[in-house]
């Protein structure tokens, strides 16, 4: 190593970035799980919380195969996931298009934004019985419920994201004689993407909640339906196994959207560090 290289290396070693790289953040994740388990184990074994409310970790693990290999479990999980994905796709599309529409006209904003925001203050959960009364216990109602639960997050982030383009960038587009649509597609939407992904991440969570709550309130299938059944037979351990699957669905959704964001909004993840200056 030359002297300059040595100094450069020292600088790299001293930078907090390099230090943080030495241990994975997943160690922190791994540390939190035993902690929660320990508290859970403690409060159930000592019967501070009665088993009918919270089963012991051991009994949940024991119930696992019973629940998973029960007849039709796969169908139920597919059903719920389909409702979530369908509702999310529908709600996010409506939210995005509505965001675009309202961002293009201050008159439309003045006319509808307060009303839309006021509507969002109504918990969508209370609409579940009404939707069921309308369309019945089938999947359509759950899709509608999930869509309703997630559209606003995508709508409001799209609306504010589309307004984030730099005045100079807008002037550049105008000086080139770009149409409104061109400015939207080539400047405003890409600028808004990082913010919209925040809305998608949030919306995915609320879509999951929407679908499950709707199943829980009244359904003929899906994980929520299983939960009602297990609750009916006071099978708390099995109930918690289903909760575990909601956790898995939530985690997978988060990871998928996170990955999509990393790929699609690639410039945001790379703009912070210059790859050409990065150590191999």
């Amino acid at each position: 190593m030359t002297r300059t290289e040595q100094i450069a290396q020292l600088a790299i070693d001293a930078s907090p970035r390099a230090k943080r790289k030495k241990f994975s953040p997943y160690i922190l994740t791994a540390l939190i799980a035993p902690l929660i388990l320990a508290v859970w184990w403690f409060v159930t074994e000592t019967r501070i919380v009665p088993p009918i409310l919270l089963p012991t970790p051991a009994s949940v693990v024991q119930s696992f195969p019973r629940v998973v290999f029960a007849d039709g479990f796969g169908d139920q999980i597919i059903r719920t996931v389909t409702e979530i994905v369908g509702g999310f796709a529908l709600g996010a599309t409506i939210g995005f298009l509505l965001g675009m529409l309202l961002s293009s006209s201050s008159r439309l904003r003045a006319a509808y934004l307060p009303a839309l925001s006021a509507l969002e203050a109504i918990p969508t959960v209370i609409l579940a019985p009404i939707i069921i009364a309308w369309v019945g216990f089938g999947m359509e109602g759950k899709v509608m419920q999930a869509a309703l639960a997630c559209f606003y997050a995508v709508f409001i982030t799209t609306l504010s994201g589309l307004g984030l383009a730099e005045p100079n960038a807008v002037n550049l587009m105008r000086s080139l004689g770009a149409s409104r649509w061109q400015t939207m597609a080539k400047l405003r939407v890409p600028t808004a993407l990082p913010v919209i992904f925040g809305g998608l991440q949030l919306g995915a969570t609320t879509a999951i909640i929407g679908a499950i709550v709707s199943e829980f309130i009244g359904s003929v299938g899906g994980l929520g339906y299983l939960m009602i059944r297990y609750r009916g037979s006071f099978d708390t351990a099995a109930y918690w196994v289903i909760i575990f699957f909601f956790l898995v669905i939530g985690l997978v959704t988060y990871l998928l959207i996170w990955y999509a964001e990393k790929k699609i909004v690639f410039w945001r993840h790379t703009a912070i560090t210059r790859p050409d200056l990065e150590k191999p």
């Binding site: 100079n168 960038a169 000086s175 080139l176 004689g177 410039w267």
Partner: protein, 258 residues
């Protein structure tokens, strides 16, 4: 000097006034600007900060409308941006999701012309400003100076008749700015375009221009126009000649006497 061959001006501003706000908050940014930009010339707008240089340039580019007065471009009244006018701003304004080449090709994409047709030209321009090996890189992989070079290529791609440059290198360091100014002069001569440069640097204005329009502090008015008779191409050692120093002093006096 070419004052004897009087051709019709490319741009003519007649009594251009711009007011921002209304009522109590009304503010005159630009007051009765009369200015002609001749075909093929390099004109600088020189004045203190806030005197309405950017406002004047944006009106010439059709981005802003004048409160009073009018602008003609090529003999016709200008009411909206024109493809014949290319604008450059203090920031490079490169879209981070596009490669340098795609950023340079943005204008023709917006005009709905074939990008393929212009690709070779874009690459040629990039190599003329010495960043051809960065064609496939993203703007955030380029230095500030390189980004402005790319922005220069972008504005020149579709051969606009008129270049409106609002302190395009103002954010760069002194050294890079001088190099970029040289680059700009070379390319402007090469494309035979007309240029209007906004600056508050007196030496830069005198060095670059055929004429320097000196403006007063707010509300911006035109104080006078200084003819700069030096031959082209100009080299940096021009700046040490006594004629050059005298013209810089004269411009400074105009600015101070207002």
């Amino acid at each position: 000097m070419t004052t004897t061959t009087q051709t019709a001006p490319l741009v003519r501003a007649t009594g251009v006034t711009k007011k921002f706000g209304s009522g109590d908050k009304e503010m005159v940014a630009l007051s009765g600007l009369n200015l002609e930009v001749r075909e093929g010339e390099f004109l600088s707008l020189l004045g203190p900060s806030g005197c309405g240089k950017s406002t004047a340039l944006n009106i010439m580019g059709g981005l802003l409308s004048a409160t009073e007065g009018s602008i003609t471009f090529g003999g016709k009244t200008l009411t909206e941006p024109s493809r014949q006018i290319g604008m450059m701003f203090q920031q490079a304004v490169m879209f981070p999701w596009r490669t340098t080449l795609d950023n340079v090709l943005l204008p023709v994409e917006i005009f709905g012309e074939s990008k393929k047709k212009y690709r070779a030209k874009a690459e040629e321009l990039l190599s003329m400003v010495g960043i051809s090996e960065f064609a496939g890189s993203y703007p955030w992989q380029l230095s500030g100076g390189m980004q402005q070079r790319a922005a220069l290529c972008r504005v020149l791609l579709h051969d606009p008749k008129l270049l409106l440059l609002d302190e395009p290198f103002g954010a760069l360091d002194e050294f890079t700015r001088e190099t970029m100014n040289q680059e700009l002069l070379r390319l402007q001569a090469h494309t035979k375009s007309t240029a209007v440069l906004v600056t508050h640097n007196i030496t830069e204005a005198v060095f670059m221009s055929d004429r320097v329009a000196v403006m007063s502090a707010r509300p911006g008015r035109l104080i006078g126009i200084l003819e700069i008779p030096f031959d082209r191409p100009r080299t940096p050692d021009l700046q040490t000649t006594s004629d050059f120093v005298a013209l810089v002093a004269e411009a400074r006096k105009m600015l101070e006497l207002q």
